[in-house]
């Protein structure tokens, strides 16, 4: 596939992929990589040392181990919420763009309503109502982040639908299902991918914000939750930077890598952009 080879040859995308893979591998093999049990209590407020690379927190847990486990929670929430959001968005966008008519009006009306509601307050409200829990967080983020995907997919479907090649295929005798499978989906797919990667980044950031505000699952050690505890339990006041800087850096790096990847997918899917970049 030409898109895949483009992502491979793009240097920035390569950097993004490497960073992301480091985090993903860290999350998958967390059990092997953690030097200590993240739930075990050592001496609280230890400074970094050889045994505790990033010291310990207020109840004496090893921060480095928490950080590795945090990758698992943050990435899970990001990818699952991204999957839900993009899934809904793609479904709505395809239906609205392909079927048009009243369905389009209703779906786009709904999309606009969800789109204008500020995301963070809504998510805060819903998560307070549902209570803490990692699956609730995933669900809430997924249900709030789909409208922009729906809009983008719909407009792309509209432009593909009116293109000469869809008209030609129709004249050849192709039905709606055929057009969707053979022409609309392949032409929308890169956009779906790019949108998915960006939504994952946004979902991770949203999860961190929620957790930082204390609305996350206290039993799930995400990077946002670490920041929350560092803030609430005196990490900032004591200037224990080894407590609050690493999770912040991890979140930023993850989002940076996802953004780089999504850029290169967009470039790869648009031949004009690709040519401009090669120059």
């Amino acid at each position: 596939m030409r898109l895949a080879s483009h992502v491979k040859t793009n240097r920035l995308a390569m950097v993004g992929m490497i960073i992301l893979w480091v985090f993903i591998l860290g999350a998958v093999f967390a059990q092997l990589l953690m030097p200590h049990d993240p739930w075990r209590h050592f001496v609280p407020f230890m400074s970094p040392s050889v045994t505790h690379v990033l010291g310990t927190d207020d109840v004496g847990r090893d921060i480095f181990s928490e950080l590795i486990l945090g990758a698992r929670v943050s990435l899970t929430v990001g990818f699952m919420a991204g999957l839900i959001a993009v899934g809904i968005g793609v479904l709505v966008g395809l239906l609205a763009g392909f079927r048009r008519g009243y369905l389009d009006e209703i779906l786009m009306g709904l999309t606009d309503v969800v789109l204008v509601i500020p995301a963070l307050p809504l998510v805060i409200l819903v998560s307070v109502y549902l209570g803490p829990g990692i699956w609730y967080t995933i669900l809430v983020i997924g249900l709030v982040f789909w409208p922009s995907t729906a809009r983008v997919i719909r407009s792309q479907v509209l432009s593909v639908r009116q293109s000469g090649y869809v008209e030609s295929a129709r004249a050849l005798g192709a039905g709606d299902g055929w057009l969707m499978r053979r022409h609309v989906l392949p032409n929308v797919l890169p956009l779906i991918l790019a949108k998915f990667v960006l939504t994952v980044a946004a979902a991770m950031l949203m999860e961190a914000s929620l957790s930082f505000l204390g609305l996350g699952d206290p039993m799930a050690k995400s990077w946002g939750m670490m920041l929350h505890y560092a803030f609430a339990r005196g990490g900032f006041i004591r200037e224990m930077w080894w407590w609050y800087v690493p999770p912040g850096v991890c979140i930023s790096l993850c989002i940076l890598s996802l953004t780089l990847i999504s850029f290169s997918i967009e470039e790869g899917s648009d031949p004009r952009l690709r040519r401009a970049l090669d120059r």
Binding site: S163, G164, Y165, E167, S168, A169, R170, A171, L172, G173, A174, G175, W178, R182, H183, P186, N187, P271
Partner: protein
């Protein structure tokens, strides 16, 4: 009569949004207006008209790619608009278009092999091996080597693209080919090549060809009968053999360069012309050097003035 068009009209309503509608009335664009003609099996039927004369809309309506406002299109006596989906699929199997601008009619993501296989797959023709064989044979007929199968449309020249589009339509072995500006955007040499190829394939496959173009020479070169369209209507229809000698409608004579058009009030190009010119009377009246009083109020009927020669003009008396 393989394909018959009866009093076909396709009008577009250009709606402004409710707020803008205070200033502008909704426009009715009569892209195709009461057009009738019949195509017999095996002939080349040419349609000439300037851009905005409704040629493309006529072709699209005949293919049922857009809805008609009035009238009917009959394929072997069966109404195209009354067909259910399986009948329509069968109709599209036997009546195929070649659109202008093959640039956009080929999916940029498919390679030529996939593009050519598509019609066969849609109609479930043959297994993989026979399909490859058909495609190979067709490539030979359009003078492309098999290496082109792996290329994408963006890697082809304009003439090659148009030949691929032609091959895609011909793979279904249709009875009728509706070619809408098949040579637009191609240089004169390639135009001649594509045209010659089409005529040769027409002979080989026993096709009926409807050739639509703005280019008088292209149509006159190839057609057995020629219809001249002006603003959605057919103004003259006559045989292709002595078309230039017999042409008598003022607009046709203008196209042939034997007569001048009266400089009219400058109007916007293309489709916008319909907005103002299509109410009553002959659409050409404002530009016609022979216009009579009646031309501005009653639109002339297309009537036969001599054997096989139809004209819509008040100023010309039947022979």
């Amino acid at each position: 009569m393989i394909l018959e068009v009866r009093h076909l009209s396709t009008h577009y309503l250009v709606r402004h949004n409710p707020l803008a509608r205070f200033g502008h009335r909704d426009h009715l664009i009569r892209a195709v207006d009461d057009v009738s003609f019949a195509v017999t099996a095996g002939e080349v039927f040419g349609i000439i008209g300037e851009s905005g004369s409704g040629k493309t809309t006529l072709a699209r309506t005949m293919l049922r790619l857009c809805d008609s406002t009035a009238g009917d299109v009959l394929h072997r006596g069966r109404s195209v608009f009354a067909m259910n989906s399986s009948e329509l699929k069968q109709y599209r199997h036997s009546v195929q278009p070649v659109f202008q601008d093959a640039d956009s009619t080929l999916d940029p993501r498919q390679h030529v092999g996939a593009i050519l296989e598509e019609p066969l797959l849609i109609h479930g023709i043959g297994d993989a091996a026979t399909r490859r064989q058909y495609i190979g044979g067709m490539l030979e007929q359009i003078n492309l080597s098999p290496s082109f199968l792996q290329r994408h449309p963006s890697e082809l020249s304009g003439g090659q693209r148009q030949r691929v589009a032609l091959a895609r339509s011909l793979l279904l072995n249709p009875e009728v080919l509706i070619a809408d500006e098949p040579t637009s955007g191609l240089d004169p040499l390639v135009t001649t090549q594509v045209l010659a190829l089409m005529l040769r394939l027409k002979q080989d496959h026993g096709l009926t060809l409807i050739l639509i173009s703005h280019d008088l020479e292209t149509v006159a070169y190839a057609s057995d009968r020629i219809a001249v369209m002006y603003r959605g209507r057919i103004v003259e229809l006559s045989g292709g053999e002595d078309f230039a000698q017999r042409a008598s409608h003022p607009y046709t004579r203008f196209l042939l360069g034997v007569e001048r058009r009266v400089p009219e009030i400058p109007v916007l190009e293309g489709v916008h012309e319909h907005i103002h010119g299509a109410e009553d009377g002959c659409a050409y009246a404002n530009s016609c050097p022979h216009h009579l009083h009646v031309c501005h109020s009653i639109s002339p009927e297309l009537r036969e003035t001599s054997q096989g020669h139809l004209i819509a003009c008040h100023a010309i008396a039947p022979e």
